[in-house]
Amino acid sequence: MTMRNADRLASMPLLRPEEETKLRGWFAELQRPVELLVALGPEETPRPGSGDVDFGEEMVRVCEGLAELGGCVTCRVEDEPEGFPRFPAVSVRPEGRDVGVRYDGLPWGYELGSLVGAIVDAGRAEPTLRPESLEALEDLDRDLTLDVFVTPT
């Protein structure tokens, strides 16, 4: 019997038990609620070898899985919401506000750490940058768009 990639993925736990414990600890310390808004829509060509994996479905599984680890983290799924040029994507929203923190594509492998880091930082009441960095940003008189290309490994 052969197993579909999608079924194989769905049966894999999101985190190892020790990772789950660590995340539960971090999420328990969040000082404000964080919403994960998952945006689903038409996707680009799947990566070679991904076969029948439904990236949108997997994104929902990842984000709902994270939301289960802490009372302050919630997950909402929308179909083609405004402001999302690529799908699937997730917007990390402190207190439900769009502050311009987004992850386009599935946070696979090591990149799951980036999404977790974004949640932990979004849940802090105060920014985590150094004072001199905050001062430099305060002087910013124009909008700045940062795109960071990443891969799972």
Binding site: E43, E44, T45, P46, R47, F55, R86, V92, P94, V99, G100, V101, R102, Y103, D104, G105, L106, P107, W108, E111, S114, G117, A118, D121, A122, P127, T128, L129, R130, E132, S133, L134, A136, L137, E138, L140, D141, R142, D143, L144, T145, L146, D147, V148, F149, V150, T151, P152
Partner: protein
Amino acid sequence: MLLAFRCALASQRVSATAIEANEFPQLAQELGVYAVPRIVVDGEPRWDGSVPEAEFLRRILA
């Protein structure tokens, strides 16, 4: 990646998006992504690789 997210969380002027290069190959190709992390500022590829916070700020604000 986290530094970019932190900048967005600290300033209403800044937005930060992580883009999974394998999943969006067309865009990655347009921006010449051969190494990661590749940092693109206001649509312009700027550098590849991680740098310390002070240097990151210096580069994005340059």
